[in-house]
């Protein structure tokens, strides 16, 4: 028995109305994102947009002047002392990143391997290594400023006490050691987080493949290089990208330990401290808002494009494997 045509049409209409209602409901769900989106636009997109906008104007103190196109950017890259300060800061950021990779990521990976092996007291080691991360960066900066003080600091006092007086030096007061000292403090502070990320990556590797490799006669080093490192690549990738962003955004520790001048004589100056001086160095300070905004834009573009390249590189590597 077949349904009459009118009935069929009515049923189809009913069905389609139901689908439409379903679609509307789906869209309603999207609308619930609106409040969060408004906040995101207000607090994230708008400041970035306004920095972009400010960088195209001349500034006289806090007063916005005429539209000057790319002049602030041109001055930043060609005019003394902005040019030297920019490239010096950039070089320090690169050193910071390399330093962090060597002293934080490599050490953290080794520690993660150690904790991931069959040792007793894993949780204790994890806790101890992660503990510095619970402190505020400013507190860490302050504490290390005391420890490294050339007059009464604990480090130099200890070195003198154990007869290594010749090693005692003004760690933060010499241009030869100041930046490296801050890199080491930064690595000490962030080590625990890197260890946790690596540990999560290592624990995700199934133990069976190691058993199989052992049966095939693979040495420990071969297993590390051919199996552990490639399989832990996602966590290595995450940490490298985070470290890159961290190195190029680094500010608080340098500010806490060396002030906004990033001394001595700019030996610890990075792009973020340079930005701080340019943008906030003085109340209504001349043209600083335009130049500071231009630097912020350059910094944003540099970090985002370099992060995209790194991601692309790692993804391709992952795909090849």
């Amino acid at each position: 028995m077949s349904m009459p045509v009118t009935d069929k049409t009515a049923a189809a209409k009913k069905e389609s109305a139901k689908v439409r209602r379903g679609n509307w409901k789906k869209h309603l769900v999207h609308l619930f994102l609106l409040p969060a989106l408004l906040f995101y636009i207000w607090f994230q997109i708008y400041p970035i947009f306004s920095a972009f906008l400010n960088s195209f104007f001349a500034w006289d103190g806090l007063k916005r002047g005429a539209f000057i196109g790319l002049e602030n950017f041109v001055r930043l890259f060609t005019e003394s002392p902005f040019q030297e300060t920019f490239f010096r800061g950039l070089a320090h950021n690169v050193i910071f990143f390399i330093g962090i990779v060597l002293t934080k990521l490599v050490v953290a990976f080794v520690l993660a391997l150690f904790i991931n092996s069959k040792i007793r007291g894993k949780e204790f080691f994890k806790m101890v290594i992660f503990m510095p991360k619970l402190l505020s960066v400013i507190v860490v900066g302050f504490l290390f400023s005391l420890i490294l003080n050339p007059t009464y600091g604990a480090l130099n006092t200890f070195l003198k006490f154990i007869g290594l007086e010749e090693l005692a030096r003004p760690w933060l007061g010499s241009p030869d050691t100041a930046l490296y000292t801050i890199i080491l403090v930064n690595s000490w502070y962030g080590l625990g987080f890197a260890v946790l990320i690596f540990l999560a990556g290592l624990q995700a590797i199934p133990s069976e493949i190691y058993d199989a490799a052992k049966i095939d006669g693979a040495s420990g080093l071969t297993m590390l290089w051919r199996m552990t490192v490639p399989l832990a690549m996602p966590s290595i990738m995450v940490m490298t990208i985070l470290s890159f962003i961290g190195a190029f955004e680094t500010f608080e520790l340098i500010f806490a330990m060396q002030g906004s001048q990033a001394g001595p004589y700019y030996s610890t100056d990075v792009l973020a401290t340079y930005f701080y001086r340019l943008a906030f160095g003085s109340v209504a300070g001349g043209e600083s808002i335009g130049l500071g905004s231009a630097l912020a834009v350059v910094l944003f573009l540099m970090i985002s494009s370099a992060t995209a390249i790194l991601l692309f590189f790692f993804r391709r590597k992952e795909y090849e494997q």
Partner: protein, 436 residues
């Protein structure tokens, strides 16, 4: 259930829309207030005192201000003043944000000279020429609080002097006389060093301390006001041999500073001085109060700028250390002016000088502290401005900043004496126009 969802959504949407609209209303109002002329003061109704928020970069003066404000509030029961000090290094940023937003502050502490001019020119301050007492303040001091329109925007607070503090006991115990010339300073420093005493407790981590020290030492090379005038008229510049000699002198003093002085803070240098490990310490006269708090029995005295030759002129290096002005966006301009009157009064000046051991900018104030009295007398005899702060505080970065950072560069071996002078001149060339 669906209806509940829809109502919930509508409620959230309304909440967000109302929040956004109220915030935009606030900001618009703020902008309008910022740009508009101050509305006439409305006398607050009885029982509703007006509150003025006062920003400062001197947290260390909080106790003293609590006392000053209590005195003011006793006389003006309808006005309450809330003193909000911030760390000096963060003050500029906080003030800049408040002024731009047009909220949060009524009375602002203003950096002197170009620091005030740029804020006044940007239209964030109310002129206070008509406030009672302001015109009685010496003109030279009011110059530190003017806009480009020559109107006065702040009540100058105190006069700072860059001085050499010295420990009288250390000098007496070692049979030394306080130095008056460059040669004497070197001689005294060598003698102190031979006895194992740090001659000068100089810190170099914060570069501005080096430029303060230079202002006191530099007079032994280029003298006082006469040279300042030559610089301002363009007759000489920073590449002049006399100015280079002053930088050379700074370099020659390095062996008499504490070991690794570029790595130490001002607080460490102060500690060396008030524990008697160092004999001299160079900084602004505002440190007098610090030493008296830290070590009340410390037998200290002060020395002005060094003379070019024995018996020559020893100028006091002076500058106005900030002033208090009124934020244009204040909702209580009349009450703020009443408070300005109080700040410009002899009564406040006297309390300020007595409680904080500082030299008040208000005419007719007699300092109680013998050392502040001595500073006043020395200033009356001969006075020169703190060259870098008073006349070269402009540019991006400022010429003052370039100079002091270059001095730091010289001490760590990155720059020569000539390069310090050249960099300083290059910075000044970008903005400084000699007076004709």
């Amino acid at each position: 259930m669906r209806r509940v969802g829809v109502w919930l959504f509508c409620a959230i949407l309304m909440l967000v829309v109302s929040a956004c609209s109220s915030s935009s209303t606030t900001s618009t109002t703020g902008e309008q207030t910022t740009g508009a002329a101050p509305s006439p003061a409305v006398e607050p109704a009885k029982g509703e005192p007006v509150e003025l928020v006062m920003y400062s970069w001197r947290p260390e003066d909080k106790d003293a201000y609590t006392k000053f404000i209590a005195e003011f509030e006793k006389q003006h029961t309808n006005i309450k003043v809330k003193f909000k000090p911030f760390k000096s290094t963060e003050y500029n940023t906080i003030l800049s944000n408040s002024l731009t937003a047009g909220t949060g502050v009524d009375i602002v502490q203003l950096r002197p000279y170009s620091g005030t001019t740029s804020i006044a020119d940007a239209g964030y301050l109310l002129p206070i020429d008509d406030v009672k007492g302001v015109q009685e303040i010496p003109k030279a001091y009011l110059d530190a609080a003017r806009g480009s329109d020559q109107k006065v925007y702040g009540v100058p607070l105190s006069i700072n002097s860059a001085v050499i503090f010295y420990n009288k006991k250390v000098f007496e115990d070692n049979g030394l006389q306080p130095p008056q010339t460059w040669d004497e300073l070197i001689h005294v420093s060598q003698a102190l060093q031979a006895k194992g005493i740090v001659p000068i407790a100089q810190a170099g981590k914060a570069a501005y301390l080096l430029s303060i020290a230079h202002s006191v030492i530099g007079t032994s090379s280029y003298g006082g006001n006469e040279y300042v005038d030559k610089l301002l008229t363009g007759e000489v510049n920073f590449n002049d041999p006399a100015f280079k000699e002053s930088i050379q002198h700074m370099q020659e003093l390095a062996p008499f500073f504490p070991p690794d002085f570029i790595g130490i803070d001002d607080k460490d240098a102060q500690a060396l001085f008030y524990t008697g490990k160092a004999a001299m310490y160079i900084n602004g006269s505002y440190r007098l109060e610090t030493f008296e708090k830290q070590s009340p029995d410390l037998p200290i005295d002060i020395l002005p700028g060094l003379a070019k030759e024995k018996g020559g002129d020893t100028p006091m290096i002076n500058w106005v250390d900030g002033s208090y002005g009124i934020a244009k966006a204040t909702k209580h301009p009349e009450e703020a002016k009443i408070f300005m009157e109080f700040l410009a009064s002899k009564e406040f000046g006297q309390m300020f000088s007595d409680d904080l051991s500082r030299l008040s900018a208000i005419a007719g104030v007699t300092p109680k502290h013998p050392l502040v009295q001595k500073m006043t007398q020395l200033s009356e005899r001969s006075m020169a401005p703190y060259l870098m702060l008073v006349h070269f505080g402009e540019g991006t970065p400022t010429t003052k900043t370039t100079f002091e950072d270059s001095l730091q560069g010289m001490y760590i071996g990155k720059l020569t004496v000539n390069k310090v002078a050249e960099d300083t001149q290059a910075s000044a060339d970008k903005w400084f126009k000699p007076k004709k």
